[in-house]
Structures are given as structure tokens and as C-alpha cells.
Amino acid sequence: MNKNSNTYQILYAAIMVIVVGAVLALVATSLKPRQQENIANDTRKQILSAIHQTAPADDQVEATFNKFIVRDYLVDTTGAIVDTTRNCAFDVNMKTNVKEAQPKLPVFEARVDGATKYIIPMYGAGLWGPIWGYVAINDDGHTIYGAYFSHSSETPGLGAEIENAPFQDRFKDKSLRYENGAVVAPSVMKKAANGDEIDAVTGATITSKGVDAMFKKCLAPYAAFLATKGGACDKPACDKQSECGK
């Protein structure tokens, strides 16, 4: 058979594409359940990181998650709980959610050593791609218990440092405060001096600004919800919680 005839070439290409397509479709569909489970478990791990918990083993992520996260729900901008279906907050896709005019406001309620923590998901932009995170707030409604950040494509060693503990630990015990009725998250900035400012990552100005903007934007709609828990600390930039009287 003439290998250079048009018929042969077209047939060859067509058959090859069909075979390759079929093989890829088979691989993709058979691995899909595993991949989705991995993604869900990865999200669970990230939420657990915000309250400083890790699963003892990879196959116990879901059990650990269910142990600490007692319930999840959606709230509205007035602070009322609107949906308490199990996993309703877990199933919110933050990527599309933040773009909506009236985003859903998911909250995960966790109990750590008898104390209640409220975990709020965040989503924003870094230098090269999206960044996201979770912040856990104490039941006083203004002290940050822990924060977790991750990214899809920040520079390793620079912007990517936001996913490491040294940066995330800087958020612990900082407090949210009120300004004109809106909640103001602590600022991420260079040379943080004041008690409620957080040192940015050296060499990663734009990623740090992205974290700052994400933090402020994503926490703002929760003002009313947090107010029902005791509210934001009303003294500007206070570093001693006991003086707040709340």
C-alpha cells in the first residue's frame, strides 16, 4: 500500500485520533472518582490547617474533618443563617462565588478543645494566578485563631512562602476591628509596626498585597455575622484583647 497516498494519510490520522481519544476518555473517567476525592480531601486538609489540625494519615482526612468541623452553613449580610444543609458551605465554589454580586457567605463551625471557631474561606489574586485561604476566628468574633493560604502558581521561595507556616503564624491572635460599621481585617504590609499589622513576605510585594486585598474583601460581608458573635474589636489597632471589653 502506498504510504504517501492521501487516503492512507487521512485514514491513518483519523484512526489514530479515535484510538487515542478513546484511551484518554477511558483513563479520565476511570480515574475521576479518585481525583475528586483527592481534591475534596485536599480542601478538607486546608480547612483543618486554619485551626492548626492535621489528619494523622491520608486516609483519615475525612474522619478528622468531621470530628472538628461540627457544622457548616451559609449566612447573609445581615448575619442570619440562611442554609444549614450538611456540606452546603463545603460545596461552594469560591472561584465563581467571589465574582457574584451577592456572593454566598459560607462558614464552617469548628470545635477545638471545647471552644468554637468560625472558619471563613477566602479567594483572591496573587502575582501569577489565584490565591486562596481560610481564616479561623475565635468565638469572640474578632480574634484570629489561625489562617491558611495557598496558591496555584506563585514564585517558589518568594510569593509561594504564603503557604508556609512562618507566614501563616503571623496572623494568629491578630484582631479584626470596626471602621464605620464595616469590619476591617488586619493589613499585610512591609515593616509592620503596629500590633495588628502583619509583616509581608520579603521579595513578594504583589503577592502580599494580594493577600491583604483578599483578606479585606472576603471578610467585609461577614461584619454582621461576626457582630452577632461579639463583634469586631472597636478600639483602633488594639494589641491587648483584655482592654477591649468584649
Partner: protein, 209 residues
């Protein structure tokens, strides 16, 4: 199994005919994934798998491939294998796939792959093609690991994410070299390796008479 020629096919790419050091192929990905050792190793392993498999497949098909569309055929085979590697990583090694993110997909554009398919697999039997793929993949991986070793050590003071430069060095004024983390230093590190490699292998040096 390993005749003299097959041994050459397998071991030459490690040093004398190294794809990165001598043929200067695959430099772009060597630059992107060598900030830390772990992704460099996984990337190297992925390239070995894709290169060996695609070499075997193309070698099996070599007598049927129409010459005028051979590049497209090679590309489809490589792309399919890369997507499969990506899917398997996502299913069985999710953390690593997160680290490598887009770079696994970029194996498709790695010139070493097309180069070996074109130069070797199209005209050789499956077994030597397999060895050629493994050899070239290893040659690529060795360079990635050496570059990543120096970049992670000098850039972050760590190896495999573990701190190796003791704290007292920092206390006495030592600082991590931030420049090592940036892409240009991968090229400079690779150039230094090429320099050392050439000065040790006189037969690689061009005659300047």
C-alpha cells in the same frame, strides 16, 4: 539483551551525549522546575516514563507512519502519554501533581522528546528505543537534580525542604541568595555544569585551529 551497541544507547546520554549538557535541549523546563529538589526529581521521572513509552510506541508504529504527517503522529502520542501521566499523578499522588502544576503538561514541548522520536525511534527497533528513552530521560534528570541541588541549597538553605544550613551561619551574617531562586541562575548553574563537563571531556571540545 544488552549488547555493546545497546549499552552505548543507554549510557551515552548520561555523559558523552547528554541531551541537556551536550545537545543543549530541554533547557526551558530545566529552568522552571529546579528551584527545589523534589519537583525536579518527579519531573525527571515523568520525562523518563513519557520518553521511554513514546519511544517504544513510535518505534512499533514506525513502519506504518506516513512520512508527511510523522511529526503530528509523534505529537499526538506524546500528548496522550503526558495527559495520562498527569491524570495518574492527580489520582495517586495529588500533592506532587499540585507542586508540578503546569510543568507536567509542558513535557509535551520538551525538545528532547521530539528529538529522540525523530532521530532514534523512527529508525530503530522497540527495545533499543526503550533504552534510548530511559538513557536520555536519565541524562536529563541528572542535570535537573544537580541544578536543583545548588539552587535549593544556596537559594533557600534547604534540601528536600529540610533546613541544612545551620542557624548559627545566619546569626553570623550568612544570607540565602535570593538570586538563585530566579530563573536566570538556572541557566548560569547549567552553564557552569557544561563548563566542568567539557573541561573533563576533551573530545567534546571543538577544534579552534
Amino acid at each position: 539483551m544488552l549488547s555493546k551497541r545497546n549499552k552505548e544507547v543507554l549510557f551515552n546520554p548520561l555523559s558523552k551525549d547528554n541531551p541537556v549538557l551536550v545537545q543543549i535541549l530541554g533547557i526551558c523546563s530545566a529552568l522552571a522546575v529546579t528551584v527545589k529538589l523534589e519537583p525536579a526529581i518527579v519531573m525527571g521521572l515523568s520525562v523518563i516514563v513519557v520518553l521511554a513509552c513514546s519511544n517504544v510506541i513510535i518505534s512499533l508504529m514506525r513502519k506504518t507512519i506516513p512520512t508527511s504527517i510523522r511529526i503530528i503522529v509523534q505529537l499526538v502520542v506524546v500528548a496522550a502519554l503526558v495527559i495520562m501521566v498527569q491524570q495518574f499523578l492527580q489520582a495517586f499522588s495529588y500533592d506532587v501533581s499540585k507542586q508540578l502544576s503546569v510543568f507536567v503538561g509542558l513535557i509535551i514541548t520538551n525538545c528532547i522528546l521530539m528529538g529522540r522520536l525523530e532521530a532514534f525511534a523512527l529508525s530503530n527497533k522497540p527495545w533499543p528505543s526503550f533504552l534510548d528513552g530511559v538513557g536520555n530521560g536519565l541524562g536529563y534528570m541528572i542535570v535537573l537534580v544537580i541544578v536543583a541541588f545548588f539552587r535549593e541549597l544556596l537559594g533557600s538553605g534547604t534540601l528536600f525542604g529540610l533546613q541544612v544550613i545551620p542557624q548559627w551561619c545566619y546569626e553570623h551574617g550568612y544570607m540565602n541568595n535570593g538570586l538563585m531562586i530566579l530563573p536566570p541562575m538556572a541557566l548560569i548553574t547549567a552553564a557552569c555544569i557544561i563548563w566542568v563537563h567539557r573541561s573533563r571531556n576533551k573530545d567534546l571540545q571543538e577544534n579552534n585551529k
